[in-house]
Each structure stands twice: as structure tokens, then as C-alpha cells.
């Protein structure tokens, strides 16, 4: 039996083919207007997980970049703080050298103490620097300044932060790192999936030596011994008063004693920290560059997987359009054929 084509069949063919062409045309139009070839997982199941992974990685890397940037700004601020601290300490050492000269009278020395104490106060306020509301040198403890001359409330056994002599003058002020819970910790930021960079250092390691040295010097210039006797140790609040002129030479010796503390603070604490900050800043810049180029590469890769090749899509679209027109023409002519026209 030969194959028969009924009228309904040819009409149905026609309708089915138009529908198919139109669906294809619509899909092609959507791709062109959105620029996206894979918009739902069903478009390309094998690529779906990859695209999800790319999307997430981009979000994660962008977050790293934001955090690295905030880390960089904190470290740059620390660089400035440390540079200022360095010049304060250099000035302190200079004053100590001048004061050790025995051409000065003990009264003149006492005058110099004013500047020394100012330098100390400046160094204290550098140690209490805040970045975005957080004390940089306070570890996790961000509710009170790390360097304080008032005892922490409610901490049992904490001695009053004062020196025993020179009441009412800067000599009696004793600034030490408050040592509350969390102050020994440092803050890290995660800069990649596998790496984190420390962005803070507990303040006692950076400033305590310098503050103590300036405090000792100031007190010596003001006519007080400070205990413990070792200039490397943090003052414990005790001391003795000098009597002049009997103790003049001893005062000179006490001033000279502070020189070592200045050197240690400068070369070890401040310069050391400055170098460390520089190294960590470099690390952050590197991490930022890596994250940035990763984002760029992953976006490219995602685009390769997910986006439409516009030239191909446009060519496809016009192809489908032409074939739909041809189909409509052929279909209308085909369906107008009828034996009735010839009887």
C-alpha cells in the first residue's frame, strides 16, 4: 500500500512545523536579548554545577578583595603611626643625649622633662589609635584604650596606674598596656582560601618599651629614680626622690641608663614592626592582585560557559527567521491545493 497523506495530516504537519520553528525562534530571541545561553540548569546540566561554582567563587573572591582592601588601609595607617612613633623616639633619644650633658643644671633638666612627657603622651595616643572604631593595638579588647593611666574597673589585683612620686605632675602618670583578656591576641584577615595575614600586633610589643623609656627619662629629668632599676623593665610604680646637688651625677647616670631602652625600642620594637608591616602590606597587595586576576579569569571562564556567542546567535536567528518564512509560504501553497479546484 502506498503512503497516503490525508488533508488533516498535511495541516497537522504544517502546524507542528510552524510551532517548532517558532519555539526555536523564541529561544534564539531570548538568548540574543539576555546574552545568556545557559540561564537555567536544564539548558546545560553538565555546566550547571560549574557555573554555580564560578558564581560562588566570584562572590567569595570579591569578598576577599574587600577585606584585603580594608586590611591594606589599616596597615597603611599603621605605617604612618609607626613612622611618627619612630620620630618621637628619635627626638626622645636626642633629648636624653642633650640632657646627659653635665653643662645643664638640674633645673634646666627639669624644663626638658616637659617635652619628654609630651612625647610620651603622643606615643601613648599613637598606641591608642583607632581604625574604623577599633583600637589597632588592643587585640580583641576593643572597649577601652589599650594604654591607660587609670586602672581597669573590676579587675581584681590591678595596681593603680600611678607612680608613687611627683603627685599632680606628669611624673606620677604611669601608662602600661592594660593586659585585659584578649589584648594578647592579634587580628588576622583571611586573604584566600588557604592563607590569612595578621594585621595587628598587640600594643605592648610595639609601644610599651618606648613609653617606659620616655617615662623613665622624664622622671629622671624631674628628679626621680624609677624602679625596677633595669631600664629595660616596665616601671612598677615605685621610686625615690633625688636630692640636689648631691645626686646630680647619679641623675646623669639615670639619664644615660635610658639610652639603651631608647635603642631597644627604636631598633627592635618600632623599626622591627615597621619592617613587618611593610612585609605584610606587600603580602596583602600580592593577595589582592591574585584575587583580582582570579576574578577576571573566572568571569571569562564563566562567560565562555554561560554566555551566548553573539555572532553565532544572530546568524542562527536570521537563519530560523528565513526558514519560518519559507515554511509559511510553502505551507499556505500546499494547503490551498485541492482537487475541488479542478472538478
Amino acid at each position: 500500500m502506498s503512503f497516503r497523506i490525508t488533508n488533516n495530516q498535511s495541516t497537522q504537519f504544517f502546524i507542528d512545523q510552524i510551532n517548532r520553528q517558532k519555539v526555536g525562534l523564541e529561544e534564539s530571541r531570548q538568548m540574543l536579548s539576555s546574552g545568556v545561553e545557559v540561564s537555567t540548569p536544564g539548558d546545560a546540566p553538565s555546566k550547571a554545577a560549574t557555573i554555580e561554582n564560578y558564581n560562588r567563587t566570584i562572590v567569595r573572591l570579591d569578598a576577599y578583595k574587600d577585606r584585603i582592601n580594608s586590611g591594606i588601609s589599616s596597615m597603611e595607617l599603621q605605617e604612618t603611626v609607626l613612622n611618627t612613633a619612630e620620630s618621637i623616639m628619635l627626638r626622645g633619644k636626642e633629648l636624653a643625649t642633650q640632657a646627659a650633658n653635665e653643662t645643664l643644671s638640674s633645673e634646666q633638666r627639669e624644663q626638658m622633662a616637659i617635652e619628654v612627657f609630651e612625647l610620651r603622651d603622643s606615643l601613648v595616643s599613637l598606641g591608642n589609635t583607632k581604625n574604623q572604631g577599633v583600637y589597632i593595638y588592643g587585640g580583641f579588647d576593643d572597649d577601652d584604650p589599650p594604654f591607660d593611666d587609670t586602672p581597669a574597673s573590676g579587675v581584681a589585683g590591678t595596681p593603680g596606674y600611678t607612680n608613687s612620686l611627683g603627685a599632680g605632675t606628669p611624673s606620677s602618670q604611669r601608662f602600661i598596656y592594660d593586659g585585659e583578656d584578649g589584648t594578647a591576641n592579634s587580628r588576622d584577615i583571611v586573604v584566600s582560601d588557604f592563607e590569612s595575614v595578621r594585621i595587628t600586633t598587640p600594643g605592648d610589643q610595639v609601644f610599651q618599651g618606648g613609653i617606659s623609656a620616655l617615662e623613665r627619662l622624664g622622671r629622671a629629668l624631674s628628679g626621680f629614680y624609677t624602679t625596677p632599676a633595669s631600664s629595660a623593665a616596665t616601671p612598677d610604680g615605685g621610686g625615690l626622690a633625688m636630692t640636689f646637688p648631691a645626686d646630680y651625677h647619679l641623675q646623669t647616670q639615670e639619664i644615660l641608663n635610658t639610652m639603651d631602652a631608647f635603642d631597644t625600642s627604636l631598633s627592635k620594637d618600632i623599626t622591627g614592626e615597621l619592617m613587618s608591616v611593610g612585609a605584610r602590606l606587600n603580602k596583602l597587595h600580592d593577595a589582592f592582585d591574585i584575587a583580582d586576576s582570579l576574578v577576571f579569569n573566572i568571569k571569562n571562564a564563566r562567560s565562555g560557559v554561560q554566555d551566548v556567542d553573539m555572532f553565532e546567535a544572530a546568524a542562527n536567528f536570521s537563519n530560523l527567521q528565513t526558514s519560518l518564512e519559507a515554511l509559511l509560504n510553502a505551507g499556505v501553497q500546499m494547503n490551498s491545493l485541492s482537487i475541488l479546484n479542478y472538478i
Binding site: 490525508t6 536544564g42 550547571a48 554545577a49 587585640g139 580583641f140 572597649d143 585585659e180 583571611v190
Partner: protein, 548 residues
């Protein structure tokens, strides 16, 4: 010779009748050109018995209509019926999966579980930089709530689709019974009365069309009995229609074969329907189960059941059923359960008392308080520490104890105020004494680190060892490949159905061109027969004239 003329008249009279009957059949074909299920009729005209003179000569006596028959091919019909079932199955699957797919958009057009997970972790890591910042804390709260609501939304959309499929299954079973009854009714008209009359031809057409309608709903096997009735059976030999009887199917949510305690509920907490047949055991009504058989077959019911899921007697939760919606829901549930257990436990911090039976939290909020419950970061209504060990419970046990169908549906973010978020860990090394500082973010760091950790997930039939986000990747690929497959399968099955339909139409359909060509043939034959009558008439007149 006289007998010759009258026989000529007889031949032409019958020919006139035959041709006009044939034209009538053509008319009927043309009238039914658009009737669904109508099979083209053909007239079978046969030469009449010849007249033997007894002298070695025989004369023809014209022609008679032997029969009017339907042009059908049983095998083509069967193939068409099968293709209709395949197409209906993949069409139903594709329609439902197309509605599931947009929840997993890849182009950022919808908030997905993945984008919310990223948002939540980013918020936590941002806060870790400055844990006392209230606006960053607010951000964690917002992102946590978004994550929980997105999980709720995706899960409940999947469970709604399952419920819709179940409702549709109930309706379709009614349809099956209606069609079964009609087929039985037509069987009673046809059986034993096969006489080729137009009425029975129409009844057969209608019956074939009903079988096709039935195949669209579920796979059936049909056999024609010797008395002309059709036996309709499903998969395992159950007779849906036998002779003039039809056996009804029913849906039951608590069938007699259910295990003790009943089947687990569906994803939304309501029972799922089984397709059963009631039979009387003498001691009451019992059920025969056809759900699995129908699910494996074609038709819309097969498609819907394969998505909705089919339960077995060993199932203990909604996630044990075998079906595509259940698989997708299991993965969403795995994500929710992970947040409720592993994340909650990590949020409490290490045990303050060094791993004692009771887990004492070592994490603290801005007020220095530890989390109050093992479900502090993520929780749900009715959350309880049943074994009172201070840790989030084994959720499988909790699900049974609290008769909770799913945690994904009810998970919520447990932290309600900025201050309450426990970012700090204990700084005091001594067990039993706690010390927190507001600038400490170590608890958040630990939480953020969990996202990279690979753990074993197991919900229902879903088992995977991976990170949390990779569970979502699996979910996306699963939904994607289900949809892509259903789309391709539907296109393929539709093409195959079209081909089968073409073959069927080619055999049984009406072609107007052909009918008109035939019309001319029979019209001419009618004219010729009429001319024969005139010739006979003239001959008879001539003979009668001789007598006068």
C-alpha cells in the same frame, strides 16, 4: 432472450443501488473528515454468482455489495497507542519539571539557596573583621534570615509540586474508571453482534478512541476476544475491562497493605495516594496495589508517579520514596539539617568543660552571655534537646519524636538581635569560668571555615561526602539533568507519536482528494448503470412492439 433483458435490468438496478451506496459511504467519509477516531470506510463490491446455461456457457449476474468495512491496521493502532502513552508520560514530566527548574536559575534572576549561602558566609566573614560593629551584625541577621526563608521557599515549592501531582493522580484515576466503564458498555454493544452495520463500525471506532484516551493516562494492553469484545489489562494482568465488566481502580491514602504505623507522609506532611483495587476477602475489604506497576509504565499517571515518588513498606521518612521530587527535596533537607546540627554545634564553641557529657557553650555575645540553646544559630518551632546533652540532636530521631516531616520547611534563623550574635570565644583557659571580649571574632572564623569542610550527608536515598555548597551543586545538576532529559524525551516522544499518528492517519484517515476521485469513479459508474437501464428499457420496448 427475454430472460436476458430482464436480467440486464436486474443487473443495472443492483448496480445503481451499489454505486449509490458507495457514494453514500464516500459522503459519510467526507462528513467525518475531522471526526477524532473515525476510521475511513470502504465499500467492498463483489461480482455476483454467475448463471450457468447448462450448455457450457455462463453469464455474469452483476455485482453486489459484500461489505462496508473500516480501514484499520491492528498493529499500527497498537503502535500508535503505545506512542501516545510514552508522549503523555514525558509531557507530564516535562510540564512539572519546567516548573521546578526556575528555582535554580543560574543567571542571577532569582535568589537561590546558593546565592543566599554565599551572602550568609560573606556577611559572617565581614563581621569577623570588626565583630562589635552593629551594622555588620545586622547584615549577618538579615542574610541568615534570607538563607532560612529561601530554603523554606524552595522546599515548599517542591513539596507543593508533589502535592499537585498527587491531586492530579486522584483525578486521573477517576478518569480511568469512567473510560473503563464506557469501554465495557461498548463491548456489550459489539460482542456477538458483529454484522458490519454502520452502528457497530462507529462503536468500534469509539472503543479504539477510548483505548487511546486510556493509554494517554496509563499503559494498558488490549486483546480482542473472539466475540469482538476487548480485554483491557494493566501491567501485571489485572483486567481493567473484561467483556461487559469494568473493574474500578481507587486511590487510598491508608491502604490495607500499609506497614504497621502506616506509610510515612509526603513532603508536606500529608499522606500520599496509592492506586489500588478493592476486593472482598470474605472477612472485609482488602486492597491490591498497582501504584508501582503504573509508575513504571507510560501515560500521564506513569510520569506523575515517577516524579511524586512511590513509597515502599520499608520507608521511614518522606525522603525514602523513589521519585524525582523526593530526590530534590532530600538535598534541600540535607542542607537544612547540616545548618541545624553541624553549624549550631560549632556556634556553641568547644565544650567549656573539656568534652563532658553535657556540652557547655564557650562562645559569647556582646553582653558576654553564652547561647541559650543548642539551636541558637538556626532553629525551628518545637526545637528541643531531647537527650539533654546540650548538643543539637540527631535529627532523624527528632523528626520521628516530633512528627516533623521536614526541617527544610521550618528552619529559621535563631539569632534575633544584633547583640545576641555570639562572635567571641572564651579567653579564660580555666574550665567553668568564662571571659569574652567584644572584639573577638574567633567563633565566626570557625563558622566560616565550616563551608570548606567535607562531611557525609545522608537523607533518604541521597548520600554524598562533600562540602555544604557542593550539595547544592549536586542539587542543581540533578534538577538540570532531569529537566534537560525530560525536555529531550518529550520532544523525541512527541516526534515518535507524530510518526505513529501519520502511519495511523495514512491507514485510517480520510483524504478528501482520494474521496473526490472515488466519488467521480462511482458517479460515472452510476451514470453507466442508468444508461444500462435505458438500453434494457429500449430492448424491452422493441420486443413489446413486435407483439403489438
Amino acid at each position: 432472450m427475454g430472460s436476458g433483458v430482464s436480467s440486464l435490468l436486474d443487473i443495472s438496478k443492483r448496480s445503481l443501488f451499489n454505486q449509490s451506496q458507495a457514494i453514500r459511504v464516500i459522503g459519510n467519509n467526507i462528513a467525518n473528515v475531522n471526526t477524532e477516531g473515525y476510521s475511513r470506510r470502504k465499500v467492498d463490491i463483489k461480482s455476483s454468482d454467475s448463471f450457468d446455461t447448462g450448455e457450457g456457457t455462463s453469464f455474469g449476474t452483476g455485482a453486489d455489495i459484500d461489505s462496508v468495512y473500516r480501514t484499520v491496521d491492528k498493529f499500527i493502532n497498537l503502535a500508535y497507542q503505545g506512542r501516545i502513552g510514552d508522549r503523555a508520560r514525558s509531557e507530564a514530566r516535562d510540564e512539572f519539571l519546567a516548573r521546578l527548574e526556575p528555582m535554580f536559575a543560574l543567571d542571577g534572576s532569582t535568589k537561590t539557596i546558593s546565592s543566599e549561602l554565599s551572602g550568609f558566609f560573606s556577611a559572617i566573614e565581614d563581621l569577623a573583621q570588626n565583630p562589635s560593629d552593629v551594622s555588620l551584625r545586622r547584615n549577618v541577621l538579615d542574610q541568615g534570615q534570607n538563607l532560612a526563608t529561601t530554603i523554606n521557599r524552595v522546599y515548599s515549592q517542591v513539596s507543593q509540586l508533589q502535592r499537585e501531582a498527587d491531586d492530579r493522580i486522584n483525578y486521573l484515576v477517576e478518569e480511568v474508571n469512567r473510560i473503563g466503564g464506557q469501554i465495557a458498555n461498548l463491548n456489550s454493544q459489539i460482542s456477538g453482534k458483529e454484522d458490519g452495520s454502520q452502528e457497530l463500525l462507529t462503536a468500534r471506532d469509539q472503543r479504539e478512541q477510548l483505548v487511546r484516551d486510556l493509554s494517554e493516562i496509563m499503559s494498558v494492553t488490549t486483546v480482542e476476544n473472539s466475540d469482538g469484545s476487548t480485554l483491557v489489562t494493566i501491567g501485571n494482568g489485572f483486567a481493567l475491562v473484561s467483556g461487559i465488566h469494568s473493574n474500578a481502580l481507587e486511590t487510598s491514602k491508608s491502604p490495607s497493605f500499609a506497614p504497621v504505623g502506616g506509610y510515612p507522609k509526603g513532603l508536606d506532611g500529608d499522606a500520599l495516594s496509592f492506586i489500588v483495587h478493592d476486593f472482598d476477602t470474605g472477612a472485609g475489604t482488602s486492597h491490591a496495589d498497582f501504584t508501582g506497576t503504573i509508575a513504571a509504565g507510560g501515560g500521564e499517571l506513569g510520569g506523575l508517579l515517577s516524579l511524586r515518588g512511590v513509597q515502599s513498606a520499608t520507608d521511614t521518612t518522606a525522603f525514602d520514596a523513589v521519585g524525582d521530587f523526593v530526590t530534590a527535596a532530600s538535598m534541600v533537607e540535607a542542607i537544612a539539617e547540616d545548618l541545624l546540627t553541624r553549624f549550631n554545634l560549632s556556634y556553641l564553641g568547644p565544650d567549656e568543660n573539656g568534652g563532658t557529657a553535657f556540652h557547655n557553650p564557650s562562645s559569647g555575645d556582646l553582653a558576654g552571655s553564652t547561647p541559650a540553646s543548642p539551636y541558637s544559630l538556626f532553629n525551628f518551632t518545637g526545637a528541643a534537646d531531647l537527650d539533654a546533652d546540650g548538643r543539637p540532636d540527631d535529627l532523624a530521631g527528632l523528626r520521628t519524636a516530633l512528627t516533623i516531616p521536614s526541617f527544610a520547611e521550618i528552619i529559621q534563623f535563631g539569632v534575633t538581635s544584633e547583640q545576641q550574635l555570639a562572635a567571641a570565644l572564651d579567653l579564660d583557659p580555666a574550665a567553668g569560668s568564662l571571659s569574652f571580649t567584644t572584639g573577638d571574632s574567633r567563633n565566626l572564623d570557625n563558622l566560616a571555615a565550616l563551608r570548606q569542610q567535607k562531611v557525609a550527608y545522608s537523607v533518604g536515598n541521597f548520600n554524598q561526602t562533600s562540602s555544604l555548597e557542593e550539595v547544592y551543586d549536586t542539587l542543581t545538576s540533578t534538577v538540570g539533568s532531569l529537566r534537560a532529559t525530560s525536555k529531550n524525551q518529550f520532544a523525541l516522544d512527541k516526534d515518535r507519536e507524530t510518526m505513529a499518528k501519520e502511519l495511523y492517519s495514512s491507514t485510517s484517515g480520510v483524504s478528501l482528494d482520494e474521496e473526490f476521485a472515488n466519488l467521480i469513479t462511482f458517479q460515472k459508474a452510476y451514470e453507466a448503470s442508468a444508461r444500462l437501464v435505458r438500453v434494457g428499457d429500449e430492448m424491452l420496448t422493441e420486443v413489446i412492439g413486435l407483439l403489438g
